[in-house]
């Protein structure tokens, strides 16, 4: 019966098979290779963002003016909330690595607790991101879009400690709306295959009239000046721009319009943070599965907690990506 060749004469040699040159299990190695490919995907997105930004380098929105809100607080706090989100994610990375460490020492209770905390951290992060999206979509001041798709915003000079500072003014603060002669086109009372989205709060004409009535309000366009601030137009130029070029009043941001500037900024923001948020979400789901496996004692029976380690790699990777998203969306 012994027909198979049992020995090849290479046992114990480097290429004799059975050796593990990388000293890592199959699963762990594959997780690493998945991470490499996912890292390339994310860097492609961020590089594409960089491409669009370099293309419009002199008119890109200033992130500090876009993300200025903190839940439950009024006022202008750029960076604070996103720094908090970063800290939460790093913190949940720490509890994850503590879970891995406890797993190495076969401490079931400790792993359970640390996994639980990791899941909570992930949920806080995803929730924060949802809030951030909501704030961004709702918008703040409103603006007028021009024929060419550029954005004209409004503001006025105010005296702050003896210094003239340009302060944004919301469209609703100086425009009187509500003539209401324009009704929304609905498919039921027009051509059945044509319908129209929600109408903007104001027409451009109403904005023009409001602007004409308020001497102090000026228009600011997208072009960045030498100090890295948006260019503020003179009073005559402001009126002229709105009259000649204004086509649509926009409030907030979506995939088509963006009151903060280039629509590409909003597109990339939704796409990249959305893709990252989806990673966080799936990470949370996987962490929950592992959490229950730990409680059930699956890894106690298996006598090793390597599964926690593999999932941990994925979770840290999500944190790693956020570090880059944070830099390129909010800092640079």
């Amino acid at each position: 019966m012994n027909t198979t060749v049992a020995t090849t004469g290479t046992e114990g040699k480097t290429w004799g098979g059975g050796s593990q040159p990388l000293k890592a299990s199959y699963g762990k190695m594959m997780m690493w290779f998945f991470i490499v490919s996912d890292a390339l995907t994310f860097s492609a997105f961020l590089a594409a963002y960089g491409f669009s930004r370099f293309k419009f380098i002199d008119s890109w929105p200033i992130a500090d003016e876009v993300f200025t809100h903190v839940p439950f607080f009024h006022g202008n706090y750029p960076m604070i909330y996103v720094a908090f989100m970063t800290f939460i994610l790093i913190m949940s990375s720490v509890t994850m690595v503590l879970a891995v460490d406890a797993g190495h020492h076969m401490k079931q209770k400790a792993v359970t607790w640390y996994m639980f905390l990791t899941v909570i951290g992930g949920l806080i992060f995803v929730g924060s991101q949802a809030w951030e999206w909501n704030t961004f979509i709702k918008g703040e001041y409103g603006a007028v879009q021009t024929k060419g798709g550029n954005i004209l915003q409004f503001g006025e000079y105010v005296d702050v400690d003896g210094e003239q500072k340009f302060k944004r003014v919301a469209v609703a603060d100086f425009v009187k709306g509500g003539h209401g002669e324009r009704t929304q086109h609905q498919s039921k009372n027009g051509i059945w295959y044509v319908s129209e989205g929600t109408l903007p709060e104001y027409t451009v004409e109403e904005v023009y009239n409001g602007l004409a009535a308020h001497e102090n309000v000026l228009v600011r366009n997208q072009i960045l000046n030498e100090e890295g601030e948006k260019t503020v137009l003179s009073r005559e130029e402001s009126l002229k721009q709105i009259k000649d070029n204004g086509t649509l009043v926009v409030h907030g941001a979506n995939l088509k319009v963006n009151e903060y500037g280039s629509p590409l900024f909003a597109d990339f923001f939704f796409f990249i943070t959305g893709f990252h948020g989806f990673h966080v979400f799936s990470g949370v789901v996987i962490n929950i599965i592992i959490f229950f496996n730990v409680i059930l004692g699956t890894y106690e029976k298996r006598k090793n907690y390597e599964m926690v380690e593999k999932v941990g790699l994925y979770w840290h990777f999500v944190d790693l990506v956020w570090v880059f998203v944070f830099t390129f969306f909010y800092l640079v």
């Binding site: 040159p21 990388l22 000293k23 890592a24 190695m29 690493w32 290779f33 490499v36 890292a39 390339l40 860097s43 492609a44 590089a47 594409a48 960089g50 491409f51 669009s52 930004r53 370099f54 293309k55 419009f56 380098i57 002199d58 500090d64 750029p78 960076m79 604070i80 720094a83 970063t86 800290f87 790093i90 913190m91 990375s93 720490v94 994850m96 690595v97 503590l98 891995v100 460490d101 190495h104 021009t146 024929k147 060419g148 798709g149 550029n150 890295g228 070029n245 090793n304 941990g312 790699l313 840290h316 990777f317 944190d319 790693l320 570090v323 880059f324 944070f326 830099t327 800092l331 640079v332």
Partner: protein
């Protein structure tokens, strides 16, 4: 099962007694780096706003600090420090090489299109 961890960071400048202690040490360091980034991002010191290699000096600092953070997350949280040299190089150099290539090509092209918009015959005056 042996799970040896190298218990020092900064090339042995900061040593730890246990792996748990090292994790907290790295957290302290990462938080510190993030705090520096946030403070620089809010105050934007005038000295760092000059152009260096086609970008604001401050932006280079941000990118450098980000890579520092990425290094410590990968090396200490993902335990890359304890993997074999071969695995480490396979993962890191593949990523680094391809990402540098991609970023260079796309940014170069973006800069070119910008120059066409601003210096070429295509104008957007709206």
């Amino acid at each position: 099962m042996a799970h040896e961890h190298k218990l020092e960071i900064f090339r042995g400048l900061w040593k730890f007694k246990s792996n748990t202690q090292k994790i907290w040490g790295v957290l302290v360091f990462l938080t510190f780096v993030t705090a520096i980034e946030v403070v620089l991002g809010i105050y934007k010191p005038e000295v760092l706003m000059g152009q260096v290699l086609g970008m604001k000096g401050l932006n280079w600092i941000f990118i450098f600090l980000t890579i520092v953070k990425a290094y410590y997350i990968t090396w200490d949280f993902m335990h890359m420090r304890d993997e074999t040299k071969a695995l480490r190089r396979m993962v890191v150099w593949t990523g680094v090489f391809l990402i540098c290539y991609l970023v260079f090509i796309l940014l170069q092209e973006g800069g070119y299109i910008e120059s066409v918009y601003s210096d070429g015959f295509i104008k957007h005056d709206f």
